[in-house]
Amino acid sequence: MKQVFARPKSLKPAATHYCPGCGHSIIHRLVAEVIDELGIQERTIGVPPAGCAVLAYNYFDVDMGEAPHGRAVAVATGIKRVLPDRVVFTYQGDGDIAAIGTAESIHAANRGEKITAIFVNNAVYGMTGGQMAPTTVPGLVTTTTPGGRQVNRDGAPLDLTQMLAVAKGAVYLERVAVSDPKHIRQAKKAIKKAFQVQLDGLGFALVEVLSACPTNWKMDSITAWQWVKDSMTKDFPLGVIKDETGYDAGPETEAGDDR
């Protein structure tokens, strides 16, 4: 019988610690599928963040080096500069890449570091218990925004990916969501392209993935994922934010992986 579903080689047979309904597991799977499809498992080095995905090294079956909170792209820069023929990716939350690590992201992008950043935007600080993130949308209640985020009190959500677009060395930036099969397929396409950009030595590539944190949003999974589609995308519209790859169309991804 033809096998139609299997665990990607680049993902270990481990149960994750993520909450039910969390987007991190889906995004891990997409990254692992891309690594498999590109045949780069043996030369890929990942840099997990401080954040809910801190234990990503227990799930990805590639070399992994832990970074301090916010510094993943700087650590990845160091690795890539020593081993330019390896594939280096970071996996970072919104607090990690868009608050404490803002300076590192902008400058790594501006230098055109040949690394791939996966930026998981779930609008809160998951790991530390649901505080406000730079990407928390107005009205969302977090443990540090009583009554919901108020722009005049707490500031407006920050669109880091849009900011990165002005950095000359950033060649490919796209915002996707993993809210339903159609969007998951698009997310995978974007992730694959962001790795391809690195393989082709073009410069800095980042995919922002809108994700749900049902636990800290205090929503059930269904409501949370609907909320990603209905509310988050208002402040963070999906689509290509910058593409200077010169690729005609994104490299093909396999059909039928909408799970």
């Binding site: 498992q41 043996e42 030369r43 890929t44 080095i45 840099v47 801190v54 090294y57 990805f60 079956d61 590639v62 070399d63 992994m64 080096g65 832990e66 970074a67 301090p68 510094r71 700087a74 650590v75 990845a76 820069t77 160091g78 690795i79 890539k80 500069r81 020593v82 081993l83 390896r86 300076a103 590192e104 902008i106 400058h107 230098r111």
Partner: protein, 363 residues
């Protein structure tokens, strides 16, 4: 081998390159800007990588990445910048990564000034960042020693998989002295590191981390570090004693202060005072044992530091109350002359009636 006349900051850079360092990540701060400037040119010549990072935070994290990938890597800065690097240095220690960090100390606290200082002694020798760890800390007192210690720093870092800090100051950076360099190390011929992240090809995945959530596992890791630090203490502690055989008073000083103290001691010796110099070459590990042994014979120790008094605590701990320990500390970047120090020595010497003692000066 020919002697060259070079300034300290260039010697630091050149010695690093000769040691096989091919990666430098830094951020400008006076008084060590000549180091990144030199490295930007020199690493280009040898096919290395220089990045002027956006901050000290970024640069130390690039150091972490380069070390993970197996490169011989270095950064340098001065006090405020070293403070910013501390989180990263703690990670280097926790993740057991080799790296060399030079601190050309300037006057503090805060922005302070750019004058030579030794006020970062505590920060360097007590870890500096968070957690239970130590950096190996080397304190050169001449340009030749700066070259030698820089080379040694990379070997120590690799041998113990631990960050090594070189402590200097603006005076050390600017000073020009003749220096002889050894043959260059070919980075390709360095012993292979069997722990680096270079892609899991024909081997299982490798993970480099410092987060160990289970207290028992973190405790075991910390004890492993303790054993490593014990071995460093045992094998690498270095110091120098000058004119200590007949001394009734010994000056304890390192780095630039030791140079000034040396001049002061020559002066007071001409005046018949029996004074020696105890100079730690490693600040961590501190040469406590030899100093303790010395304190059985010499009952008076004057600690001279370019700060309000930090190493003096290690001196006191070392001599275990067997000798009187006094401090001559000059904070704020003030550099006393050898004559100033000679005056302090004489004051102490005659005040304690050391001129009246019998041979050996034993109390």
């Amino acid at each position: 081998m020919t002697k060259k006349l070079m300034r300290g900051s260039h010697v630091l850079g050149e010695a690093a390159v000769l040691a096989g360092c091919r990666y430098y990540f830094g951020y400008p701060i006076t008084p060590q800007n000549e180091v990144p400037e030199y490295m930007s040119r020199r690493l280009l010549e040898v096919g290395g990588t220089f990045i002027q990072a956006e901050s000290e935070l970024a640069s130390i994290n690039m150091v972490i990445g380069a070390a993970m990938a197996g490169g011989r890597v270095m950064t340098s800065s001065s006090s405020p910048g070293i403070s910013l690097k501390q989180e990263g240095i703690s990670y280097l220690a926790g993740q057991e990564l080799p790296a060399v960090i030079a601190n050309m100390i300037r006057g503090g606290p805060g922005l302070g000034n750019i004058a030579p200082s030794q006020s970062d002694y505590f920060q360097a020798t007590r870890g500096g960042g968070h957690g239970d760890y130590r950096c190996i800390v080397l304190a050169p007192a001449s340009i030749q020693e700066l070259a030698d210690m820089t080379l040694q720093a990379f070997d120590l870092a690799d041998k113990y998989r631990n960050p090594v800090m070189i402590l200097g100051d603006g005076m050390m950076g600017q000073m020009m002295e003749p220096v002889t360099f050894p043959e260059p190390v070919d980075p390709a011929k360095l012993p292979e590191k069997d722990w680096v992240l270079d892609g899991a090809k024909d081997r299982p995945q490798r993970i480099i981390l410092s987060m160990l959530l289970d207290p028992k596992i973190l405790e075991a890791h910390n004890y492993k570090l303790v054993r490593k630090y014990d071995a460093v203490r045992e094998n690498e502690t270095a110091w120098e004693m000058t004119d200590c055989d007949d001394a009734r008073l010994v000056v304890a000083a390192y780095g630039t202060a030791a140079r000034i103290a040396g001049g002061a001691i020559r002066r007071v010796r001409q005046r018949g005072l029996k004074v020696g110099l105890f100079r730690p070459k490693t600040l961590w590990p501190f040469p406590a044992k030899p100093l303790e042994e010395l304190s059985h014979r010499v009952r008076h120790i004057l600690t001279f530091e370019l700060c309000a008094g930090q190493m003096v605590e290690d001196v006191q701990l070392a001599v275990k109350g067997q000798a009187e320990v006094k401090l001559y500390g000059r904070p704020g970047g003030v550099i006393p002359t050898p004559e100033d120090v000679a005056h302090q020595i004489s004051h102490y010497y005659y005040g304690a009636h050391l001129d009246e003692e019998g041979p050996g000066g034993g109390a």
